[in-house]
Amino acid sequence: MKKTKPLIIFLLTVLLVLFLSLLVIGRFKITASDIGSMINALFSGKAVGEELISKQLVFWWIRLPRCIMAILVGMGLSVSGAVYQALFRNPLVSPDILGVAAGCTFGAALGLILPGNNFSLIHILSLGFGLLAVTMTVAIARLISVKSVIVLVLAGMVILSFFNALLMVLKYFSDPYDELPSIVFWIMGSLSRVNWNDILLIAPITGVGLIFFLLMRFRLNILSLGDIQSKSLGINPSMFRLIFIVASSFIVALTVATCGQICWIGLIIPHMARTLVGPDHKRMLPVTALLGAIFLLAADGVARSISSAEIPVGIVTALTGAPIFAFLLYKNRGSGWV
């Protein structure tokens, strides 16, 4: 048994340092002493000085929520990815496998095209279609009801392709000067749209989901052995699979509905954690959550400070994720699971 406590403390420290330094780093210069006086002002109730007003706005309403969101989304996506990989006993599975992300993206694109351009409508449609997509996948799998895992993946492919096709229809009929770019930008995930309302929505659900997964993490080990073994060890695999799928789909759908598609995190972070502490979910799941938070926080830091115009964080994660994944595949060769 490898000891994971020192590693977890180390990762927590890294996360904290990164979080604090990203509050200071950015195109808009805010120093640590500025933040100090802002927090002072908040507690004492006094107004801040003239020169701090714009900084205060950026700090409280843009930068802080954004950093918190990066942590939440990073944890949510990476842990969901780990859960999906265990459920489908396949290390190449990521949370989009059952069509959640495709459904969400279609819903959001629909919201962007519908007249009114209402921001909460986009959210609602996106979340709704994301969950609808998973429900359809699970329903199809239930109808067929043989070889449950494989059928679930196949049904996921059907739904995923269907929603991608619908998305293409929307893109084709959308106005190429106004609506099409907004759909394309929306699809490239970004944390720039984050506000406190999103956090109030995502934090409790992601929080509850993460705690649930952490508590049930030994069950994931057993489910990853397959249905026959799970049953003979006294666990009902189809029931647990459904609960886990519903919970992680909710987390992923909420994320995609607010931030668009941020790829690779759900795929590579669990692999990184497995490389560090082995596949036992007892040790691997907490490490996955912390690594996911660190990775997305850092990627978002890069996305918003590397050039004068912000680039979508989805591009940063994809650009770094692909080579990291290749490296992990190379590093884990011969362990018998790729």
């Binding site: 048994m1 508590l215 080990n221 003979s232 060890l233 497995r274 596949p279 884990n332 018998g336 699971w337």
Partner: protein, 270 residues
């Protein structure tokens, strides 16, 4: 020695195909039962019915006087363990990780295995003289070693009733006998009841106390090994003529006619 597992008029079908019909037998504690039959005769299905992985469509099963349908999956798992025939590649767990999973039926919903559970897992590996495997990658050991690891996992789970699906499948010449001797020892020392499906009637001859012969989903003969293992029964079971060979004093072994025919073929010798 009491009856610990009872199975009455059991029937099972996959869709419309009937796999098992009117299977009745009793398992006493501390005895080794071998289920013999041709490929596809329903041996594995029967084993999976016995611990509730599959639900029979008629008949009933009692585990220690209690009807299986009134027990939760967890309760069944605390009394019956299974070593499956095929095991799929999983994540690169260590052998100890796999063995400790046998403790699952004794853990609460949100519990993870404690130090004590790991100690029990280590002990099970020791019983099978394989503690050196503990930290090996489960995906990178030989088929025989995996079989040992899974047996250890079942042992950690419970040694009351153990169901083994072709336990010697991946083992070499010597290890087959070593494993079965070990299992037989458990029967005697821990009063474990073993129900094992087997391909080789001679293995059953050596280790089983009782034999259940299954053909097309029905029992054709069942009882004490010496009484049941006759050429007539073997001939009906495998639909071939066979030859009985007496050796080792009181033990008889069997060879199918095709093997004897093979011996008679003339050709160059090495």
């Amino acid at each position: 020695m009491g009856v610990i597992l009872k199975c009455r008029a059991l029937g099972f079908k996959y869709g419309k195909t009937r796999i098992l019909e009117d299977i009745s037998f009793e398992v006493e504690s501390g005895l080794f039962y071998a289920i013999l039959g041709k490929n596809g005769s329903g041996k594995t299905t029967l084993l999976h019915c016995l611990n509730g992985i599959l639900q029979p469509d008629c008949g009933n099963i009692e585990i220690g006087q209690q009807d299986i349908t009134t027990m939760s999956r967890k309760q069944v798992a605390q009394q019956v363990s299974l070593v499956p025939q095929e095991h799929l590649d999983v994540f690169p767990f260590t052998v100890l990780d796999v063995v400790v999973m046998g403790r699952a039926p004794f853990l609460k919903m949100t519990q993870t295995p404690s130090d004590n559970d790991y100690r029990l897992a280590m002990e099970a590996l020791k019983v099978l003289a394989s503690e050196n495997l503990a930290n090996a990658n489960f995906n990178r050991i030989s088929g025989g070693e995996r079989q040992i690891a899974l047996l250890a996992s079942a042992l950690v789970q419970t040694s009351k009733i153990m169901l083994l699906d072709e336990p010697t499948n991946h083992l070499d010449f010597n290890n087959q006998y070593r494993l079965l001797s070990k299992i037989k020892e458990l029967c005697r020392t821990r009063k474990t009841s073993v129900v094992a499906t087997m391909h080789d009637p001679n293995m059953a001859m050596l280790y089983a106390d009782c034999v259940i012969m299954i053909k097309n989903g029905r029992i054709v003969a069942a009882g004490h090994t010496e009484e049941i293992m006759t050429t007539t029964n073997i001939n009906t079971l495998y639909e071939t003529r066979s030859v009985e060979i007496s050796t080792l004093g009181n033990k008889n072994f069997f060879l199918p006619e095709s093997a004897v025919a093979g011996l008679k073929l003339k050709g160059k010798s090495c």
